[in-house]
């Protein structure tokens, strides 16, 4: 079936233009994520890509657990995230929790993560970025009166790109954003 659809990229000149122009389409840069191997060194932070992915996955799961607990408490005190995220990311998290506190909401249910894949890892330094699917379908936003305020148009599954940086023995989340390529979730 798919071979029936032909796709081509075209650059179209709207205004009249007699001059012949040559356009060359470049390879897309926002295609599906591809894991990248990294160099090795005598005392690497990670022994392998697999270990890097496992560590990042574990770090993200720890983060989700703590974040969900804070959200369940209404988001007023996010300090428990501090050991899990970078300073900059902690500020963003604080901002995000205002969405709970300013509206008097708290979360019920827990977030899930699946389909983790390694984007790239610096095994020596310990910096890792991974792709994952964040699933918040079981999380409801309740107000104090017990009314469900969950947005009806919320995307319940999101393809995220999450970067981690090593600090001491641990991995901290340094960035988390929606993957801008094809939705793999």
């Amino acid at each position: 079936m798919s071979e029936r659809s032909r796709s081509r990229t075209a650059a179209v000149l709207i205004a009249g233009l007699a001059t012949v122009l040559v356009l060359v389409a470049c390879a897309p840069t926002a295609e599906a994520p591809t894991p990248t191997a990294s160099s090795t060194a005598p005392t690497p932070f990670f022994a392998s890509d697999e270990e890097a992915l496992a560590a990042a996955t574990a770090a993200y799961e720890s983060y989700l657990e703590v974040s969900d607990q804070i959200a369940a408490d209404g988001g007023a005190d996010p300090t428990a995230l501090k050991p899990l995220v970078s300073v900059e990311e902690y500020e963003r998290q604080e901002q995000s929790f205002l969405g709970f506190t300013e509206r008097g909401l708290h979360a019920e249910g827990s977030s899930q993560v699946d389909s983790e894949r390694l984007e790239q890892a610096n095994l020596v330094v310990g910096n890792v970025s991974i792709y994952l699917c964040l699933d918040v379908s079981e999380v409801r936003l309740m107000d104090d009166a017990g009314v469900d305020n969950t947005p009806v148009d919320r995307m319940d599954r999101l393809p995220l790109q999450v970067a981690f940086a090593s600090e001491g023995e641990s991995l901290l989340i340094s960035q988390s954003s929606v993957w801008s390529g094809d939705n793999f979730c």
Partner: protein, 269 residues
């Protein structure tokens, strides 16, 4: 050398995407998938073209045109230095960055659209006739079309796009100079619970012997969706023609004495 470069930077779709999305943002519903550029669909003969693009003059970045000596005073920004796909710095169009560099001679200001077009072909229809390959003069031959609503996937600007084809009409050219239209594709005698040579909504009785080619044309209505769950109508109807179906029209006596039936218990035996 009168060498002009036109550089155009259209904001990337990524610029509209949230830069940050953590679990709390996701729970609050403030993480959205990127909004793809608006698409439009059109019928072109036997296929549907979906197109989407970004106009060069609609972005935050003003298109810049200038001669290489910048003598006209126009802002000159001939090459996007941050363009990641600029191998030669010459004639180039980068789809995902939506950056075009065009080199030419004394180019006036141009409005440019960098677009993506994808063509979507419906499935080939298939027709069958009962009896298979032959018919008897004066008795109904039953024509059946195998066509159904189907979705053809593809990509547009690197994002999933789909076109859904729905058969809405059937034009039966029986090959003997007569034709008929129906809104349904017909069914086999067995499926209809009818005996052979029964009249159906898509049957036809040939009036004389000979070899004919029956041709079926199916009209499809098309819809598309791109970057969302909603199907959008495509204006126009696609007429898709099947390969001719060869049918030998014989008289009843010819069929009945024409061969040995053996263990075949079909008609005439």
């Amino acid at each position: 050398m009168a060498f002009a470069l036109l550089a155009l930077a259209v904001p990337q779709p990524a610029s509209a995407w949230p830069t940050s999305c953590n679990a709390v943002d996701a729970q609050l519903g403030s993480c959205d998938l990127p909004n793809p550029p608006a698409a439009s669909g059109s019928v072109d003969d036997d296929h549907v073209d979906l197109s989407a693009g970004v106009h060069g003059d609609t972005g935050e970045h003003e298109p810049n045109v200038g001669l290489d000596d910048d003598s006209n005073g126009d802002p000159l920004d001939p090459v996007q230095e941050d363009a990641p796909c600029d191998p030669q710095g010459g004639l180039i169009a980068c789809r995902d960055e939506f950056i075009i560099n065009l080199a030419g001679t004394d180019l006036p200001w141009q409005e440019i659209t960098l677009a993506d077009i994808a063509s979507f072909l419906p499935e080939d229809p298939e027709q069958a006739a009962e009896p298979d390959g032959w018919a008897i003069v004066g008795l109904p031959a039953n024509f059946v079309a195998d066509a159904r609503q189907h979705v053809v996937p593809g990509t547009l600007l690197g994002l999933p796009a789909e076109v859904r084809f729905t058969p809405t009409g059937y034009l039966w050219d029986y090959g003997d100079g007569s034709s008929a239209r129906s809104t349904g594709g017909g069914s086999t005698w067995e499926a209809l619970g009818l005996d052979w040579f029964a009249v159906t909504s898509t049957s036809h009785s040939y009036e004389s012997r000979g070899a004919v080619s029956a041709v079926l044309t199916i009209s499809y209505q098309a819809e598309y969706r791109f970057g969302g769950p909603t199907w959008n109508p495509v204006v126009g109807i696609l007429d898709v023609t099947d390969d001719p179906l060869a049918i030998v029209v014989a008289t009843e006596s010819t069929v009945l004495v024409g061969g040995s039936c053996g263990e075949d218990s079909s008609l005439g035996c």
